[in-house]
């Protein structure tokens, strides 16, 4: 039951073949069985999930019209607030905090009767590409437990690959949905910036953060996308326009006559051989399905990483200032005679991890008077240039494609002491966030040299998210007919797995 896709589960629920309580319980059992090894979850809300499932079953029994994913379980990245449920963002500084309010994404999930199983592990405040920066210990890649599941949303992606949940919510600031999807053989989508409300998403970098769906199939991602997207008056940057028809696009999967642009700069040197092989193969399959493959150039992408590591830390240095022990979360050193300033300092010293501190310091420096123009100001100019590169490329092609990451999953600990090497993992995903466009990663097979999953990235213009779903569905279908079974059916079994 847990190995089905979410849409298969949904139709079994609709036909009465299974109940949401049974489906939810099966996932909770799988979590109990495998999460000691995977560590995808920081908090499992057994009681809440079963109560929600029972409520959906009752609604269905009474003949109420339900949404397409009603009763299907989901794993929520721990960066999203859910009323009464611990929300830590993978940080010690928020240990024990229970939000008094639901994020808009959670409001939408509840409105759609999607059952929330619990909160998934992540790099602290979404800063990282391996989930090793979680204050609560790393998540392990279900393909090989000695390897990273990607990050920052490693918990969400791993929960899908370990069949602990059929759906998950991620957030993507520089690739935190797509890179974990790539290295775990799952599907992850970063919608157009402003497509999904950020209200209740604990901010890392406000101008780059975007919540999105994680799933095992393109159609499942599209169904979840439609459930959580749409204008929200509580988020000033939310786009007030209809949600692109992503479910229809995922169902049709039609790419005939579509122009697919291969970004010259996001391939070649630095990309693992097996990654390149799978990428070329996917292009051939898309061409065979009727798409026209063209090459495009984006000369300013080479500055994207540097600009990103000025903008994101700058914004984070300000966003994370609120964690000061005054109103919620951890409080350290509050003893007789201690000043507020001392308590703030001690709490932040103890509460934040190394990577978070590194970025706060970097960002504080980049915004300082006298450095602002050289750093933050220049980075914003690069951002404009990257957007222009995309605009030009989209004149030649309907969507753009690249490998999602240069390599497959690396070993836990391998890059932990080399931040630059770690940052390079996001070289192909970051430009999408810089321009605010949509991006998807879906599995394109495994690399021959290590047998680990490789991701294929599709990028679509602002609010044309439906295009990446069309291409994704077409490629998925072509690969499925080539393989005869989904990629995840070949994943090594975890000890105790159902």
């Amino acid at each position: 039951m847990i190995r089905n896709s979410a849409s298969e589960m949904a139709s079994k629920l609709a036909s009465g073949e299974i109940t949401s309580v049974a489906l939810t319980q099966a996932h909770l059992d799988q979590i109990s069985a495998v999460d000691k090894d995977v560590h995808a979850f920081l908090h499992v809300d057994t009681e809440g999930a079963l109560a929600q499932a029972a409520a959906v079953d009752a609604k269905r029994k009474s003949g109420e019209k339900l949404s397409p994913l009603a009763g299907v379980p989901l794993a929520l990245k721990d960066v999203m607030t859910q009323k009464g449920i611990p929300t830590t963002c993978g940080s010690k500084i928020l240990e024990g905090w229970r939000p008094p309010y639901d994020s808009t994404v959670v409001v939408n999930l509840k409105k759609n009767d999607i059952v929330i199983l619990g909160k998934t592990n992540m790099d602290e405040f979404a800063m990282g590409s391996s989930t090793e920066n979680s204050a609560y210990g790393p998540t392990h890649n279900p393909w090989d437990l000695t390897r990273i599941p990607g990050g920052s949303g490693g918990g969400s992606a791993a929960s899908l690959a370990a069949f602990e949940a059929p759906l998950a919510i991620g957030t993507d600031t520089g690739g935190s949905i797509r890179q974990p999807a790539a290295v775990t053989g799952t599907v992850g989508v970063k919608p157009t910036y402003g497509g999904v409300s950020r209200y209740g998403l604990v901010a890392f970098s406000s101008s780059l953060d975007q919540a999105g769906p994680c799933a095992r199939t393109v159609l499942d991602a599209a169904l979840l996308h439609e459930a959580i997207a749409g204008h929200d008056p509580k988020d000033s940057t939310s786009i007030n326009a209809p949600v692109p028809a992503v479910v229809a696009a995922a169902k049709s999967g039609n790419v005939k006559g579509l122009k697919i642009g291969v970004v010259k700069e996001l391939n070649g040197d630095g990309y693992q051989k097996g990654v390149r092989t799978r990428f070329e193969e996917s292009l051939e399959l898309l061409a065979a399905a009727g798409a026209e493959i063209v090459e495009v150039s984006a000369p300013n992408f080479e500055y994207a990483l540097a600009a990103y590591y000025l903008i994101a830390p700058s914004e984070c240095s300000s966003n994370l200032a609120r964690f000061d022990a005054m109103r919620y979360g951890l409080r350290v050193g509050d003893s007789e005679g201690a000043s507020a300033e001392l308590v703030m300092n001690l709490t932040r010293e103890v509460g934040f991890g190394r990577e978070v501190k590194r970025r706060i310091i970097l960002g504080t420096y980049a915004l300082s008077s006298g450095y602002y123009d050289a750093y933050y100001g220049s980075a914003q100019k690069v951002r404009t240039l990257i957007t222009q590169d995309f605009n030009k490329a989209f004149e030649k092609a309907d969507v753009l494609v690249s490998p999602t990451c240069p390599t497959t999953a690396f070993k836990i600990g391998e890059k932990a002491n080399d931040p630059l090497a770690m940052y390079l993992n996001d070289i192909a995903t970051i430009p999408v966030n810089m321009a605010g466009i949509g991006g998807m990663s879906l599995p394109s097979g495994v690399a021959e040299e290590d047998g680990l999953p490789v991701g294929f990235q599709i990028m679509s213009p602002v609010m044309k998210d439906d295009r990446m779903y069309s291409v994704g569905a077409a490629l998925e279908a072509a690969l499925l007919s080539k393989w005869g079974a989904p990629l995840l059916s070949t994943i090594p079994a975890l000890a105790g797995s159902k």
């Binding site: 008094p100 509580k234 000033s236 200032a321 300033e341 703030m344 915004l367």
Partner: protein
């Protein structure tokens, strides 16, 4: 103090810079839906947004933008077609996000001016105060430092935080530097703040209560030798909570600066706090090492891009500028300067205008509000505005007097009754049984009774000795319990005795 003010201005020229913070009177806060009502229980007017809970996002209060644009237009500013919010980053416990959402290099209104007129040795003179910018921001919470002698954070045992004020919309109005006011600098500054207050009040965008902090002034003062074009070092005085304090604070700072300069000392660039009791300022934090606020554009808010048509629509709704309005009223009512100032100082101009608008004669309306009603307000030690009597009440009373239905004396009783809470004028008249005796036959009977009771006096009047009539009139008034119109009694009596006014 060895230096006199005259010594200071004989040698130095003051240069001013004024920053006025205005709390807007919107119903909800700048970036969330919380109430803005003053004086609620601490921390009851808060939500995830104004408490800066993780994940919460601000959204802009449209009404606050409208009010700010109105202010900009009233101050002759250009309204920027595109402006942005920015984050001003610094840590302080009463600021929940540890940054303030403000505007930095792209404010919503720029380049305006306000003309103020003050009395100088050469007669009335207009000074133009140039406004550099008007921008929007949010207020902080309030800290209450408990224990320790000064009520300041240093030495306090603990501090209490109230976030009800956090996020209240503030508008900051910043002048360009103001040179050229010479010895009149303190008065010009006071007149400027007063003019701003009047403009803001006429726009209806703020309560403009300096004592409650809804209008706050920071005064920057520096001195330079007369004739020099090099600016001196400035001090910034905060906590100036009344118009009088604006004047006192600037005068005091000018003397303090001059004393230091004369002694060969430097003026320290710093924030100072005005002490209401002594009229002096005390050093706050030094700004020698300029604090780095790390401003950058607020990524959580889209830019403010007001539609040009909307701006014109708002411009069309602007009321007449208070100073121009006053001049026009003065001409219409033909009031001497002294009376006009009396009305402005007593803060009754608006209510007099309203009374006149309801049909009362300007002189009568002014007479009531500045006379009897002011007297009662003084007696009760409350503001005239807080007395329970409205322009419509006074207009009604004036009309009754004009119609001869009330005498001035009776009208005073009615005013007193209305203020005592006995109801509207008609109700007071009915309840107290006040009425003018207008019935000629009843009056005639009373006159005849009076004449019969005082035959000698009556004869004197018949003989043309008119002053003697007073005694008879007094008797008639007594007989009618004061409800007769004395003038009418006199006319009837004289006619009865065959006399006429000489």
């Amino acid at each position: 103090m060895s230096l006199t003010y005259d010594d200071v201005v004989a040698k130095y020229e003051p240069v001013l810079g004024l920053e006025v913070h205005v709390e807007l009177n919107t119903k909800s806060k700048m970036f969330c839906g919380c109430s803005t009502i003053f004086g609620a229980e601490p921390n009851t007017q808060t939500c995830p947004v104004c408490l800066a809970l993780p994940g919460a996002l601000p959204t802009v209060n449209e009404k606050a933008i409208e009010s700010t644009i109105k202010i900009g237009l009233a101050l002759n500013c250009s309204i920027a077609p595109f402006s942005r919010f920015a984050r001003k980053n610094y840590f302080y416990p009463d600021m929940p996000k540890n940054f303030q959402i403000s505007q930095y290099d792209e404010p919503i209104c720029v380049n305006g001016y306000v003309d103020v007129e003050i009395e100088t040795d050469e007669g009335p003179k207009v000074f133009r105060i140039e406004v550099e910018r008007v921008h929007m921001e949010e207020d902080t919470g309030k800290s209450l430092h408990v224990g320790g002698a000064t009520g300041r954070i240093h030495g306090a045992e603990y501090s209490l935080l109230d976030y009800n004020r956090a996020g209240i919309p503030l508008v900051e109005i910043v002048t360009k530097i103001v040179p050229g006011t010479g010895k009149y600098a303190p008065e010009v500054a006071k007149a400027y703040v007063a003019e701003l207050r009047d403009i803001l009040r006429s726009l209806g965008v703020s309560d403009v209560k300096m004592e409650q902090g809804s209008l706050r002034c920071d005064a920057n003062v520096s001195l330079r030798l007369i004739g020099s074009d090099v600016l001196g070092t400035r001090s910034e005085t905060k906590n100036v909570n009344s118009l009088r304090s604006v004047e006192r604070a600037i005068r005091g700072e000018m003397i303090r600066h001059a004393e230091r300069l004369n002694n060969g000392e430097r003026v320290v660039q710093e924030t100072r706090h005005f002490q209401e009791d002594t009229g002096l300022t005390r050093s706050g934090r030094s700004k020698e090492q300029a604090e780095d606020y790390r401003y950058f554009p607020e990524p959580d808010l889209v830019p403010v891009a007001p539609d040009a048509a909307w701006i014109e629509q708002l411009r069309a709704t602007l009321p007449e500028r208070p100073s121009i309005h006053r001049k026009r009223l003065q001409e219409q009512w033909a009031v001497p300067d002294k009376e006009m100032s009396a009305m402005i100082n007593a803060d009754v101009l608006d209510v007099v205008e309203a009374t006149v608008a309801l049909g009362a004669d300007p002189a009568k309306a002014r007479g009531w509000w500045l006379g009897e009603i002011s007297r009662i307000a003084n007696e009760k030690d409350v503001a005239i505005k807080d007395l329970p009597i409205a322009a419509s009440d006074v207009a009604e009373i004036v009309a009754l007097v004009n119609a001869g239905d009330l005498t001035d004396k009776l009208a005073r009783q009615v005013v007193e009754g209305v203020i005592a809470g006995e109801g509207k004028p008609a109700a007071v008249i009915a309840a107290r049984g006040i009425k003018v005796v207008n019935d000629d036959s009843a009056l005639m009977a009373a006159i005849e009774r009076a004449c019969a009771g005082q035959p000698e006096t009556t004869q004197k009047v018949r003989d043309g000795h008119l002053p003697a009539a007073g005694a008879l009139i007094g008797m008639v008034m007594k007989d009618t319990k004061g409800q007769a119109d004395a003038a009418k009694v006199r006319a009837l009596l004289l006619a009865h005795l065959g006399q006429s006014e000489g």
